[in-house]
Subunit: 157 residues, 2 copies
DNA sequence: TGAAATAAAGAATAATATTCTTCATATATT
DNA sequence: AATATATGAAGAATATTATTCTTTATTTCA
């Protein structure tokens, strides 16, 4: 059967989701262990899929990608094939970084990141509105972002 | 003055935001260079803040954090101190992974990640609704997620 | 044209990851 | 209870990789 995570595992995950450049030695010291068991645990967490990947987090604004927009969308047709087609199309747009099917006032909530308002308008006109079965579309333009992280709270697992 | 990014820099960033565990050697080979200039460029990108950090991306569901909720919020008071206080409070909740001030039908859009619906209800009752000046609150419960990434499109920079 | 700065290469070194063997502890089985 | 089996950690040895340093070519600018 599958093993659940023990305290040490969640501590390692908590450390690595904050900073994956930590050496096994420094993690081991923090946990009062030697490097080999820490190393083996990390490899296990990777192999079993608890850790999906390691990535560099970029400063979007500094790079010139300054605008984040959330877009709530309803579709006119709700058959399975419509939904699948829509999701497939959406996932192919590099501007879209998130696509969630939701319950509530919309069918989908998208998160989009682009250079500026012009690029956003271009996306809407030349990509989004060309999708079939599109119903209501409501945009929330981000003015400022107070918090934006991937870190999940492992303290009570 | 500040340097802008050349083609090689953006290629390096594109590689590292996909997989930050790549060795400088493998990146250098892909770009047809040797390790030292690649290494120096990476250090420069880190030092100048284009790369903010390196993190492990975890599989939330596997760890037992299965529910993502987006919450649109309006506040009753719009003075500067209200907003700042609200943002500060929100940022201290570990369940909240994103907090954006937006224009449109809401003042703020929050992204929340918790174990399950019960944990969500607990959050609403014991944390969110205790905040002062809270106006309208609308939740979008995520049913499924088609795409969820941090990768920004560097192809046309 | 010449001097200074920039970027790359290649070699040398230091640090770290990774593997392997051994030991201790816990768990299960009879 | 006694023995076998599995699990996890330690420590040393090795392989890889990161990092530094020196040299050279190329570009930039006065």
């Amino acid at each position: 059967m599958a093993h659940s995570l023990d305290k040490i595992d969640t501590q390692i995950l908590a450390i690595l989701q904050k900073n994956s450049n930590r050496t096994t030695k420094s993690i081991a010291e923090e946990l009062g262990m030697t490097t080999s068991p820490v190393f083996e645990r990390i490899k296990k967490l990777e192999k079993e899929g608890y850790i999906k990947k390691y990535v560099a987090v970029l400063d979007n604004k500094k790079i010139g990608i300054k605008l984040t927009v959330f877009i709530g969308i309803t579709l006119q047709g709700h058959t399975r094939s419509y939904l699948e087609k829509f999701v497939t199309e959406i996932n192919n747009f590099p501007e879209i970084v998130e696509c969630h099917r939701v319950s509530g006032n919309f069918d989908y909530l998208l998160k989009l990141i682009v250079e500026d308002i012009e690029a956003y308008e271009t996306f809407i006109i030349s990509k989004l509105t060309l999708l079939p079965y599109l119903g209501n579309v409501q945009s929330l333009i981000t003015l400022s972002t107070g918090k934006e992280t991937n870190e999940i709270d492992l303290s009570r697992i």
